[in-house]
């Protein structure tokens, strides 16, 4: 069953002579229980695609439907609620709150979303699997790039979202960790019926994907 549909989405930035079209008539669906991988080179429009799919940006043309809700029809508040309760973002720029320790990044989620988060035990297992349990009292500035990336993954998964949108989640990781993260996302799809979309130029993730797409100059094709 498709929980995320991107229909005929076009995105242009700028006006007149400065106008650039970043996405052209992109069609895409993601289903629960599947890992979809979107592979493309730098500047091909991956992040733009993912943020539009998750309702952070609005498309110039076309529409996005999440679990049956057309995003354009939702109020800002409803979009926030949808994102908080059903969509987990793993952002390219990590995006942890700089003044919260790793532990508090999770505590913050508890404050704004009281139900449906991982249990303490599940969180502990997740942190162990990602190899970051010993970092819980550290601030983001005290983490390495790869550690930050893994914390960002854990933070997004902690919300236990139905849809996980990951932007280059393995860019700063070594092959060993790539396998761990790839397997983790794969297991989440299979065992917990999540819909997982990963955009990346990291071909090492291919073996964990159910479907692979290619994006090139803003055009998406099934690979």
């Amino acid at each position: 069953m498709s929980v995320l549909e991107v229909n005929h989405v076009t995105k242009t930035f700028g006006h007149n002579t400065n106008e650039v079209t970043v996405l052209t008539d992109v069609n895409f669906t993601a289903a629960a229980g599947e890992v979809s991988l979107v592979i493309g080179p730098s500047g091909s429009g991956k992040s733009t695609f993912l943020t539009i799919a998750g309702g952070i940006q609005t498309p110039t043309d076309g529409d996005v439907v999440v679990q049956g809700n057309g995003l354009a029809q939702l109020s800002g508040k409803a979009r926030d609620a949808l994102r908080l309760n059903h969509i987990g973002f793993i952002l390219q720029a990590y995006n942890l709150v700089p003044y919260l320790t790793v532990k508090d990044q999770f505590a913050l989620v508890d404050r704004v979303k009281s139900k449906g988060n991982l249990s303490a035990t599940d969180l502990r297992h997740l942190l162990e699997k990602l190899g970051i349990s010993q970092l819980i009292n550290q601030y983001p500035a005290e983490l390495s790039g790869g550690q930050t990336q893994r914390v960002a993954i854990a933070r997004a998964l902690y919300q236990n979202p139905d849809i996980i949108l990951a932007d280059e989640p393995t860019a700063a990781l070594d092959s060993e960790r790539v396998k761990v993260v790839g397997q983790l996302l794969h297991d989440l799809a299979k065992e917990h019926n999540k819909a997982i979309v990963v955009v990346t130029h990291d071909l090492r993730l291919k073996e964990f994907a159910d479907k692979t797409y290619a994006i090139m100059d803003g055009k998406m094709t099934v690979a």
Binding site: Q57, A81, V109
Partner: protein, 353 residues
């Protein structure tokens, strides 16, 4: 609250500096308004202590007690009740052997009338004869003691300090209470004159006697020499100070909020509702401003305790509440000016490539 406190704890230096600035600004406003109010009070303390409502003066006295003289003949036409009292004012220089000269306001009062009864004694007793006086406590601070013999102006007559009274100031000078007889001597007038004026504590008091005019206390106080000029100056000074203080605090909190926008964008991307960010911003502004005001108030209190008794400083609740409320309000407004920006903060702005 969670985010607000966590951030303050993590960025101790930055928030410490902002609280420090609010402390200094509120300290400045508190101390200056305390000094201005203290000075204003010294113009009128004695008058306030009588709880009077009107003053009757000679109609040619230009509303000034020190310029007014009421003859016995005129005074007799005014029917006095227990709510009225004669008062004779004379500016004097007091001197005792071995003590510094003090400029003071001599007030002659009648033992059987209400002012005499209302004046509070802090040591000794009230004067009962022409050669006895009761003086303001500030005489004590200048070394004068009970039983000291004091000369007033350049006459040789000696007056004995038989009592002290608290907070008796008129036109920023300490008050000396004595008899109306002594007032006549000091003013060089004969017993044809009854007093400088008549004070009443009845709102309904009226007299039609020609040659007399009746003033309300507030009008009388405003006509005290220098009083309204002084008050206008201080009101403007404190007003400007308040406005500048409020603008400075508002600008600081505005900048603070603007600097947080990248973090807010992160939180927005995570789906944290805009409402949480707004409450975080407001509660943080409140924590900073309340903290700063509290420390500023504590410093002010310490200053009051450390200042010598001669420095006039006093506070009144409405003034303090106004100052405090004004600073609080502008702090929150400053933090909230960018609220539209907070609500519209673009999560994409921080996501990078």
């Amino acid at each position: 609250m969670f985010l607000a406190l966590k951030e303050i704890r993590h960025e101790k230096l930055r928030y410490g500096l902002i609280i420090g600035m609010i402390v200094l600004v509120s300290y400045l406003v508190f101390v200056l308004s305390g000094l201005a109010y203290g000075l204003a009070q010294q113009n009128t303390q004695a008058i306030s202590s009588w709880n009077a409502s009107k003053v009757v003066l000679n109609s040619d006295a230009n509303d000034s007690l020190s310029q007014s003289l009421i003859t016995k003949q005129t005074a007799d036409k005014v029917k006095l009740t227990t709510h009225e009292a004669y008062i004779g004012q004379a500016g004097v220089v007091a001197k005792a052997k071995g003590q510094a000269k003090l400029s003071a306001q001599f007030l002659g009062i009648n033992q059987s009338q209400f002012i005499y009864k209302r004046v509070k004694v802090t040591a000794g007793h009230k004067p009962t004869t022409n050669h006895q006086i009761m003086v303001d406590d500030s005489f004590k601070d200048n070394g004068y003691r009970l039983g000291d013999k004091v000369t007033l102006n350049s006459t040789d007559t000696q007056y004995k300090i038989v009592g002290f009274t608290h907070n008796a100031k008129l036109s920023v000078a300490p008050v000396i209470y004595g008899t109306l007889g002594t007032w006549r001597t000091l003013s060089h007038v004969t017993s044809d004159f009854q007093a400088s004026g008549i004070i009443t504590n009845r709102d309904s008091f009226k007299t039609k006697t020609s040659g007399l005019s009746t003033l309300t206390m507030s009008k009388f106080i405003n006509k005290l020499p220098g009083y309204s000029a002084q008050n206008t100056t201080f009101t403007f000074m404190i007003g400007f100070l308040m406005i500048i203080a409020m603008v400075v605090i508002a600008v600081f909190l505005y900048i603070l909020t603007m600097q947080k926008l990248p973090n807010y964008a992160v939180l927005r991307a995570q789906g944290i509702p805009a409402k949480v960010l707004v409450t975080t911003t407001v509660s943080q502004a409140l924590i900073l401003v309340v903290g700063g005001l509290a420390i500023g108030a504590a410093l002010t209190l310490a200053t009051v305790l450390a200042l010598p008794a001669g420095v006039p400083m006093s506070f009144n609740v409405p003034l303090l509440a106004g100052v405090t409320g004004g600073i609080l309000l502008t702090g929150v407004i400053g933090a909230l000016i960018p609220v539209k920006v907070i609500l519209n903060v673009d999560p994409v702005s921080v996501m990078g490539g």
